[in-house]
């Protein structure tokens, strides 16, 4: 076969790889923050996008330079981290529990490079050049569960996750406990479909990409009578939103970011969103490093108190509901209300 053909093939392949993973930009300010995304992609509108917003905020207000690499599959994690190691980044931000092992290994091998990772604890033993960004999302999801239980017409609410890993299931735990708390306070029997905190098993798509799965799962949950659904699976939830909007008569709860802002086309069916303010956490890490106070060797824990997590749209709810939620927030802060097993 002709040589020419091979070179065309090679060119196509190279262009595919280059196109698949590129991005970045921003003003050159000497300081460089580099983010490696999980497979959902930088524009997943929830998980990776929120973390990237923290870098973007730092770019605009602190005048640093921001770059990102997208992981197309799990084998890209190490490759992308290594690419940034060679680039001379000041801090490498990795987004997602699944990048945990690769990030920890890189932090171990490169003690002079600062790392911060979303959703993975820095422990066993903690590395001095790494900060784990953890979120008590169960607290915010608890509030969402309470609101959902107060809103449902059918007495059933549903949830499903992407993969059965702690950063996903913590939402489902909180949601479940929130519903139970409402039942206990009001003598109702609202049921949660798709999650059982006792066995830690439930409904999972097995991926964070297939929006078609999100649609099918939402339809299945609605078939079983749920009229409020909280998908914890990144962009997959957008498929659920499409199904819910088409069928009507049901609501969706957004996760990670305020869905009525990220996906305004579904505003009419969005009940509320469980906020995991990763942008706040990532920004604060960059700011801390610039100020020379990078808390290496520790974990940052986002809670309702430090605005690391929250519930969207509380202001728009009824005065009664606002008062009830405030009482719950106080209870959680005081440690008198249980939000996770």
């Amino acid at each position: 076969m002709s040589k020419k053909l091979y070179s065309v093939l090679a060119l196509l392949l190279v262009s595919a790889f280059v196109l698949a993973a590129c991005g970045g930009g921003g003003a050159a300010g000497g300081y460089k923050a580099c983010q490696v995304t999980d497979v959902g992609g930088i524009d997943d509108k929830t998980f990776n996008a929120t973390a990237w917003k923290g870098v973007e905020d730092a770019v605009s207000t602190l005048g640093i330079e921001g770059k990102f690499l997208e992981s197309q599959q799990q084998t890209d994690y190490e490759t992308n981290i290594n690419a940034f190691l060679e680039e001379g980044c000041d801090i490498i931000v990795t987004v997602g529990f699944l990048l945990g092992d690769a990030t920890y290994a890189a932090a171990d091998a490169n003690p002079d490079q600062l790392f911060t990772i979303v959703d993975f604890p820095n422990s066993d033993p903690a590395k001095a050049n790494l900060v784990g960004l953890l979120f008590s999302t169960d607290q915010a999801a608890f509030l969402a569960g309470y609101v959902a239980a107060a809103t449902t017409q059918t007495g059933k609410v549903g949830t499903f996750g992407g993969i059965n890993i702690p950063p996903v299931t913590v939402f489902m735990d909180g949601f479940w406990y929130g519903v139970q708390y409402y039942n206990q306070q009001n003598g109702t029997a609202v049921e949660v479909l798709g999650w059982n905190p006792a066995t830690q098993e439930g409904l999972f798509t097995g991926n964070f990409e297939s929006t078609d799965d999100g649609r099918a799962f939402a339809e299945s949950l609605m078939d079983e009578g749920a009229d409020i659904i909280m998908p914890v699976a990144g962009p997959v939830g957008l498929g659920s939103a499409a199904a819910i909007q088409e069928r009507g008569n049901a609501w969706i709860i957004g996760v990670d970011t305020d869905m009525s802002v990220s996906a305004p086309e579904y505003a009419d069916i969005i009940l509320t969103s469980v906020l995991k303010n990763m942008d706040v956490a990532v920004y604060s890490m960059i700011e801390a490093d610039l100020n020379g106070t990078f808390p290496g060797g520790t974990n940052f824990i986002g809670t309702l108190v430090n605005n690391g997590v929250g519930l969207a749209g509380i202001d728009g709810m009824s005065a009664d509901m606002q008062a009830e939620l405030q009482a719950i927030i106080d209870g959680i802060n005081a440690g008198t209300i249980q939000t996770a097993p």
Binding site: M1, G41, G202, F204, E219, L238
Partner: protein, 420 residues
């Protein structure tokens, strides 16, 4: 004649197979009667909801006491097993096997839904919907391979079709988006055709290249344009269109006659492709090129032209299948959203023995597996969710390997034709 291409039915049932089947039936009967029925309380009721959510056709729920029902199912299975061991069903063994499998599934569903409820009609409807991208992908792969060209880039072509469909659909309308998706698939297939027919590249390699290219290209356009400018990624979806009259039939109506364009297209293509491949001159020529291109050439069939035509038709089908994801399901494009459905389509084609009806059947089986695993997750069956996601495929493979047996791959599949 059609018979040559249909899956070979086993005409003679060996005594070993007969005994094996009989014992299997008995074991299934015992499973239902002892394990399922034994593990539930006396008065426990099972409720099967017979109206899928959102459907206008309401049918009363099917409510029954679980244990006696399971005992009846078990008795039937044991009876069938005993008959199989003593007399034998002969040619009708596979029919009996299907019956026992259906009883097993019904028993299993009754068992897990005991003390609660399960939307059976919703499960069946979801099965059909979930089969759509798989079946369309399988048809695309089949058109290729029947003409002797392997294409593992069906997934990539679907992805491209999904992206282009969403993009064009957003700036114009749904129908133009669909057309553009089909054309994009055809163009990618044309590249595959030129590489594998004209330049005789290894077909696996050239289609892998196309697959990687499609993944990168769609992700790039998505990240750079479609996610940034929402008006480029908001094509809407083809609305559900209930067929008047037919959709009012309980259970069957919502299952088959209350869908959007893509599901109806799947039913349409099963029939059209079956007739075209096995009952027309066109189909005979296409198959001859895939089985024995030299003989076809000797008889005056233009092998290259036939293969090009098949490859491009396949690309069009793949583009159409891709459009399902954006224009038929969620109304927006996201990176790698096809999530392996194209590959499952390839598997469905192989399990379906390179025939439209077989591929369709396999796709429906996969669809059932998908929707069942979702139901199990909802019902809170205490099995690891990873196992729930895997089990349906495992079961599908066992069923297909046990019942379908060895496949008849087109003889010249994957071999470039060298004109002498």
């Amino acid at each position: 004649m059609a018979a040559t291409a249909m899956p070979k039915h086993i005409d003679y049932i060996s005594p070993a197979r007969q005994r094996g089947m009989g014992i299997t039936f008995l074991l299934i009967g015992l499973l239902i009667g002892v394990f399922f029925a034994g593990s539930i309380g006396d008065g426990s009721m099972t409720t099967f909801v017979m109206t899928p959510g959102g459907s206008a056709t309401v049918l009363a729920d099917l409510v029954f006491t679980t244990r006696p029902a399971l005992n009846i199912l078990a008795t039937i299975c044991l009876g069938l097993g005993a008959f199989q061991l003593i007399r034998g069903f002969g040619r009708r063994t596979n029919l009996a096997l299907s019956l026992v499998a259906a009883l097993l599934i019904f028993g299993f569903l009754s068992w897990i839904a005991s003390g609660g409820s399960l939307n059976l009609a919703g499960l069946l409807r979801s099965m059909v919907v979930r089969a759509v991208p798989i079946a369309l992908g399988a048809f695309a792969a089949m058109l290729n391979e029947r003409a002797g060209v392997v294409n593992i880039a069906i997934e990539g072509m679907m992805l491209m079709g999904a992206m282009v469909g969403a993009l064009v659909g957003s700036v114009s309308n749904l129908w133009l988006g669909l057309l553009a998706a089909v054309i994009s698939g055809a163009l990618m297939a044309l590249i595959h055709g030129i590489l594998s027919i004209r330049y005789k590249t290894d077909q696996i390699i050239s289609s892998t290249m196309l697959l990687i290219f499609a993944t990168g290209m769609t992700s790039f356009i998505s990240a750079r344009f479609m996610q940034k400018y929402q008006y480029l990624n908001n094509p809407g979806i083809f609305k559900t269109w209930a067929i008047p009259g037919l959709s009012k039939i309980p259970v069957i109506g919502p299952m088959f006659f209350e869908h959007n364009l893509f599901t109806y297209a799947m039913f349409f293509f099963v029939i059209v492709l079956h007739v075209a491949l096995f009952y027309t001159r066109w189909g005979l020529r296409l198959r001859s090129v895939g089985e024995h291109p030299k003989a076809a050439d000797t008889l005056g069939i233009n092998v290259f032209r036939t293969r090009y035509m098949a490859v491009i038709l396949s690309g069009m089908m793949a583009g159409f299948a891709g459009a399902y994801f954006t224009l038929g399901s969620v109304g927006r494009f996201d990176e790698v959203m096809t999530a392996g459905r194209g590959f499952i389509g390839l598997a469905a084609m192989i399990f379906g023995n390179w025939t439209p009806v077989g591929s369709f059947g396999a796709a429906v089986l996969f669809g059932f597996a998908d929707s069942l695993s979702a139901k199990l997750g909802i019902l809170g069956v205490s099995l690891p969710s990873e196992f729930l996601l895997m089990a349906p495929y495992l079961a599908t493979m066992i069923v297909l390997a046990g019942v379908v047996g060895r496949g008849n791959m087109p003889a010249a599949d994957g071999k470039p034709y060298e004109k002498e």
